[in-house]
Symmetry: C2
Subunit: 195 residues, 2 copies
DNA sequence: GAATTCATGTAAGATGTTACATGATTAG
DNA sequence: CTAATCATGTAACATCTTACATGAATTC
């Protein structure tokens, strides 16, 4: 039930925010660690309200509802933060593919690996630009958001390096499989192309 | 629809496997990058069969069904592997909490961060033990599985280092907020406890 | 006054979790 | 003969995605 706590936490930090406001935060910031669509968000706001963890503090133009966290909501959020150990998410579609790379030709494998390296390089550039572009405040969301950006950079760099390393590993594995002769044992007159 | 392809890929690599066999592979290996419960797996096998991507090659004792990938299944798997760019999963419950760490006391924050560092250290040890314990074969699943273990180690080490770094960052941020005086400006006679 | 942004909501369907249910075969 | 393992399935429920639907207020 993390979406519940993501929404609860956002409302705690952004008192008086509307669903629309929260949605923008998900898009630009929180969504990087816990994405949510509009329909899911409004649904969750309804449930949170019914459960008495948040309440409508004010209604504005266009049916705008300004939410506020209740005492019971704050207690629930605190409980989640300090007492409930987070569970790691193991899903990684990219690594899932790595398991099956033996089913396609070596050229496709290398294309895949190089694609990942390049993509992660671009992503790292984007993160750098993003970080410079935001004018970071001193509010909690900014302070901790900045730490998470640093995490994103380290994560992307680690993956890029791993994909580079793994591509080499696979390459030398392929070499051994297709040219099992040890170096120095070539037949005379049999020259390597491009050597 | 990644579960579909995870199952399809496993059957491609483990010809003649039963749902039960596949389930064990999810538990010990594939589940680290794409988890699946028993009920989900059997459901998916049914759908895959209906779609003609796999077929029952043989029936054994206790109603055991030995599955085999079909040509159309192999084509679908290949298509997924080379033509469909994998999408990254952004969900990270632990980092989600980091966003809201400003809502609890500094002591709780440090407890949380230290807990993460310790947990990741233990996990790294486990991975090392696991790696030594397995007798790695030369089959695809072993070869690529070994690469993924290395990924797991780098991932855990990166996270551990980040949590250590972030804990220090937060600590010095707290210092600035609660003791805004610069060092060397203390009043005479005002001593720090525990100094 | 037209386009954009603000603002909320619902419905259908896919995906995933927890729990229940059953029974055959093998190992000790 | 008892326990463990092998083996498959279903039902209820929670979560998440995609698409539809509507309209008020603001900006140009």
């Amino acid at each position: 039930m993390s979406l519940r706590h993501a929404v609860l936490g956002l409302i705690a930090e952004m008192d008086g925010a509307s669903g629309y406001d929260l949605l923008k935060m998900f898009e630009i910031s929180l969504g990087n660690v816990w994405p949510a669509r509009q329909s899911q968000l409004y649904g969750e706001l309804g449930k949170l309200s019914d459960a008495g963890l948040i309440e409508v503090a004010d209604e504005g133009p266009r049916g705008r509802k300004a939410y506020r966290i209740t005492d019971s909501g704050r207690a629930e959020l605190r409980h989640w933060l300090v007492d409930v150990p987070p569970k790691g998410n193991r899903k990684d579609e990219t690594l899932l593919r790595v398991f099956f790379l033996g089913l396609v030709e070596p050229e496709e494998v290398q294309r895949f690996m190089r694609g990942q390296v390049a993509g992660l390089g671009r992503y790292l550039d984007e993160l750098g630009t993003l970080e410079k572009g935001i004018d970071w405040g001193e509010d909690d969301l900014s302070v901790y958001g900045r730490l998470v950006i640093e995490y994103g950079k380290r994560y992307a760099a680690m993956r890029r390096d791993w994909f580079e390393w793994a591509a080499h590993e696979i390459d030398s594995l392929d070499d051994r499989a297709h040219r099992p002769k040890r170096p120095g044992q070539e037949q005379p007159g049999e020259e390597r192309p491009g050597g």
